[in-house]
């Protein structure tokens, strides 16, 4: 019974190829739009989460000032001192490591090539707090750190622009007025996301940077690694009270430093991208419904146009249910076909857009399945009314219909 009906429906679709195509166009566009939006949205969320993860999870960023960046008027709050770093590392429970950071800009010169980049002075703790494996070479020794030797680990962007295809390990280049030995090369993190190109960096012992470049012991930022077993809120609370005490912030006064939890940032950004994805998907979903109405429209026209055909079928001995099923199956077959074409177009669109949006091409089976199921359901819902109308026709009148 269903087999017969399917044969009839497919024959009918084949007989009216252009009309069938126009009928499903709405579904095709709707499914393609929904799947593309959801896939790209999910891929963007994943990319954001990956970027945050590359900053390091279980990490707090502590900076002087009250907001993200240094907004607001008044005198600039003081930078941290090396003693603050010591104190945080030793007195706050749940802290695994503290990496101080002192940054400055510099022009690096090697073999006639110039490259303007950022020097990030820190300690070995940096690599503990924020996992960033080395491509080759090694990190600093304690002796190098203590002595403030001019050794450095370079990011892949610096390597490319300064050393091209040469192996940089063991090479000496000039950073500003300082001669500097390359001891390590960082793996590539990728240039996307906020904060610019993370690979465009030279990492040196903080003492070297303070003595040879900045000329002060000020520390712009601390990266505080926390033990996953401890409650992040708790760690932040004890860190806050320690720093308030050390920086002599009076009770009732606002903190003159701020703490960012990377997990918090991750949650916020993920929430934002998820919301945007939902909104865009909802809009795309509307086009799916419009596509369904398109199917109903054409199916109704089709029933009128094919009244005589229905009359023939009834005269030959089709029962009402078979005519209903034929038109229903035809509508469902059409909408499923539209759904399939939409899915294919969505994959092509995602493959084309993913590189532009700098996200990974990912296939999410869930949304593809759901979109397809919805398109089939649309066929049932919007095909039923025209099908019932066809089945209710009187064979004699239908046969006389011109």
């Amino acid at each position: 019974m269903l087999g017969t009906t399917l044969v009839l429906a497919l024959r009918s679709i084949r007989r009216h190829l252009l009309r069938s195509f126009l009928t499903i166009l709405g579904i095709v566009i709707g499914v393609a739009a929904v799947v593309t939006m959801v896939t790209l949205g999910n891929a963007t969320t994943a990319a954001v989460q990956k970027q945050i993860a590359s900053l390091g999870t279980n990490m707090l960023m502590v900076r002087p000032g009250q907001g993200f960046g240094r907004g607001g008027g008044g005198p600039r709050p003081a930078d941290f001192k090396p003693e603050d770093v010591e104190a945080v590392a030793q007195q706050v429970a749940g802290v695994t490591a503290v990496a101080p950071q002192a940054q400055t800009s510099v022009t690096a010169i090697y073999n006639g090539r110039n490259w303007s980049t950022t020097i990030n002075g820190t300690t070995d703790a940096y690599f503990e707090v924020q996992p960033w494996p080395l491509e080759e070479g090694r990190i600093f020794t304690q002796a190098e750190e203590d002595a403030g030797k001019a050794v450095c680990i370079i990011g892949s962007t610096v390597k490319t622009n300064l050393f091209a295809s040469e192996d940089p390990i063991g090479k000496r280049f000039r950073a500003g007025d300082v001669s500097c030995d390359v001891i390590g090369l960082l793996t590539t993190k990728g240039s996307q996301g906020f904060g610019g190109d993370q690979d465009d960096v030279i990492i040196m012992p903080i003492k070297t940077v303070q003595r040879r470049f900045t000329g002060s012991t000020d520390i712009r930022m601390m990266l505080v690694g926390t033990d996953a077993a401890y409650d992040s809120e708790q760690v932040q609370a004890s860190l806050t009270s320690l720093l308030r005490e050390r920086r002599k912030v009076q009770p009732g006064q606002d903190n003159d430093f701020n703490i960012f939890d990377t997990k918090q940032i991750s949650d916020t950004l993920t929430g934002t991208t998820t919301l945007l994805t939902s909104i865009v998907t909802a809009v795309a979903g509307i086009s799916l419904v419009v596509g369904g109405i398109g199917i109903m429209n054409i199916m109704l026209v089709s029933v009128t146009e094919r009244t005589r055909e229905i009359g023939i079928r009834l005269a030959i001995g089709a029962v009402a249910r078979e005519v209903l099923m034929q038109f229903l199956v035809e509508a469902v077959a059409l909408s499923c076909l539209g759904g399939l074409i939409g899915l294919v177009i969505a994959q092509i669109a995602v493959a084309a857009l993913a590189p532009v949006m700098r996200v990974d091409w990912v296939f999410y089976p869930g949304i593809n399945f759901i979109a397809f199921a919805i398109s089939a359901a649309i066929g049932v819902v919007f095909g039923y009314f025209p099908a019932r109308r066809a089945a209710a026709l009187n064979p004699i009148d239908a046969l006389r219909h011109e």
């Binding site: 017969t4 023939i312 004699i396």
Partner: protein, 244 residues
């Protein structure tokens, strides 16, 4: 059913009336029809427009039900059946041929002929074989893959006849089967119907207003103003001696 004596009519109408509409606008198309048709007869139904012949054919074809009266097909009361039961009856026992051919457009002759078999749920291979056999019977075996648009009127009507007989029905109902054809093509169709009637014993009920076509039939029923005016069975082979 198979044991029904040959003398019993295949079809009986008893006091059949048909009223269209209600109240003041009601129109009585049939005013009490009594008609018996025996198996394997070839009946021509004649009459002017509005005489009730088409209404009668619709009732005989189980497409419509009488307002009053009885319709017995093989001894069964058809007037009591519902819409779907009548559809199943048509599927099993009746074949239709129309004036306007009524083939599915953009559909090959083979697929058109297969259609009734599809509704019967025949398997694909058998569908094909039976449809080809029916096309062979009407002399269009080599035209199986042509669509109606690629066939002449006479050929289209022959495809329609093939579609009507492919299920080997008891009765073939033909409504002005030659109405859209020239005299040469008309004669061919009538010869085909005669041959089917004689060879397969299929009962043919044909509406026509052309005496030339009615002449092919064994029995001629004349309708006038919603009543059977006369029944001329003089051409019926078995009856001819008695009538003379």
């Amino acid at each position: 059913m198979a044991s029904t004596p040959a003398a019993d009519p295949l079809i009986s109408l008893r006091g059949v009336t048909k009223v269209y509409g209600t109240g003041a606008t009601a129109f009585q198309a049939l005013k009490g029809i009594d008609l018996d048709i025996v198996a394997s007869d070839f009946v021509a139904v004649m009459g002017a427009s509005g005489s009730g012949k088409s209404t009668t054919m619709n009732i005989l074809g189980c497409l419509d039900v009488p307002t009053e009266g009885e319709y017995l097909f093989r001894g069964h009361h058809i007037e009591l059946l519902d819409r779907d039961q009548r559809a199943l009856l048509r599927r099993k026992y009746l074949g239709f041929v129309f004036q306007g051919f009524n083939l599915l457009s953009r559909t090959s002759a083979l697929e058109n002929v297969e259609l009734p078999l599809l509704y019967r749920g025949e398997p694909r291979a058998e569908r094909r074989d039976q449809a080809m056999a029916a096309l062979d019977q009407v002399g269009l075996k080599d035209w199986w893959d042509h669509t109606p648009a690629e066939l002449s009127g006479g050929q289209q009507q022959r495809v329609a006849i093939a579609r009507a007989i492919v299920t080997q029905p008891d009765v073939l109902l033909a409504d002005e089967p030659t109405g859209n054809l020239d005299s040469e093509r008309s004669r061919e169709i009538m010869e085909l119907l005669t041959r089917l009637n004689e060879e397969s014993g299929i009962t043919v009920l044909m509406v026509t207003h052309e005496p030339d076509m009615a002449a092919f039939a064994h029995t001629i029923v004349n309708f006038k103003d919603g009543l059977v005016e006369s029944i001329d069975a003089s051409h019926r082979p078995g009856q001819r001696p008695e009538m003379h």
